[in-house]
């Protein structure tokens, strides 16, 4: 590959890598949100089972 081709590939490649990194970060965030939601659902269920009043 000539030098020009390498730079063009690098520019497009960097763009791709940035977007993929963003995907990784968002995926991690989503996993965390999923886990936290699960915990809160468990707490809510426990409350309902114990017959305590829940909001709404």
């Amino acid at each position: 590959m000539s030098a020009s081709e390498k730079y063009v590939a690098a520019a497009y490649g960097v763009f791709l890598v940035f977007v993929l990194c963003w995907v990784v970060i968002i995926a991690a965030k989503l996993s965390r949100l999923e886990r936290e939601t699960g915990e809160l659902v468990r707490v809510a269920r426990a409350r309902v089972a114990a017959g305590e009043p829940t909001d709404g």
């Binding site: 730079y7 063009v8 690098a10 497009y12 763009f15 940035f18 968002i26 965030k29 939601t37 409350r47």
Partner: protein, 228 residues
């Protein structure tokens, strides 16, 4: 709430399709530039990214303005996400711009590219946004201060650009010029498609990021109610 506007799925599919078309056009249809050769192709990705960064900062400023004038709660996260995306695309602008500089002129950085210098200043400014935001306690005060800062950002863009233009008078003798591509119709179309694809991609990222931040905030509130 988030599906009032065109569905995210539709937009994301459109972005993907346009990206495919753009790549095809850039590498198979648009002719190679006579002066710059192959490295001119970087233009098709660098300039739309820069324009998108400006758009993100503009969006953030608009949402900030709405926050200050209407006190609607949703605008804080929308403005913040705008700055977030703008910073990502701003960093990308600097990196792709640097690669293009190396390809065109043999140097990784030059002070004579007004756009690169402007983005450096903006990047510094918006990085400070995050430092500011995270050193203030969450609440209406933080929202308002962040909003004012985001508004200052867009005021800074034209003023800085003017300053950098004026500074080239006395700062750096070595001036690199890049003949603006004499764009053929095909080049222009390829550019437009690429710009549309990147703008849509940025918008999809914005919406996804915003949904993430909103859910985070909602969960925190839920947690306080259910498990204080």
């Amino acid at each position: 709430m988030s599906m009032q506007k065109p569905s995210l799925t539709v937009l994301a599919s459109l972005a993907a399709g346009l990206a495919a078309v753009a790549v095809a056009m850039i590498f198979f249809v648009a002719p190679e530039d006579a002066d710059q050769g192959l490295s001119q192709k970087i233009f098709y990705v660098h300039v739309p990214i820069a324009l998108t960064a400006y758009a993100c900062f503009g969006l953030a400023a608009w949402k900030a303005f709405r926050l200050l004038t209407t006190r609607g709660e949703r605008y804080d996260l929308e403005s913040y996400t705008g700055v977030h995306q703008g910073t990502i695309f701003g960093a990308l602008t600097l990196v792709t711009g640097s690669i293009w500089a190396k390809a065109s002129w043999g140097v990784w950085w030059t002070w004579s590219s007004n756009q690169l210098v402007l983005f450096l200043v903006l990047f510094l400014f918006y990085c400070a946004y995050f430092m500011l935001r995270y050193s203030i306690e969450p609440g209406p005060r933080r929202e308002r201060i962040s909003a004012v800062y985001a508004l200052f950002g867009v005021a800074l863009v034209p003023v800085s650009f003017l300053a950098i233009r004026l500074a080239s008078d006395f700062i750096h003798p070595t001036v690199f010029t890049r003949d603006g591509p004499q764009m053929t119709g095909e080049m222009f179309t390829a550019f437009c498609v690429s710009w549309a694809a990147i703008t849509l991609l940025a918008y999809v990222m914005y919406r996804v990021e915003l949904a993430g931040k909103r859910t985070d905030a909602n969960l925190r509130e839920l947690r306080e109610v259910l498990a204080p």
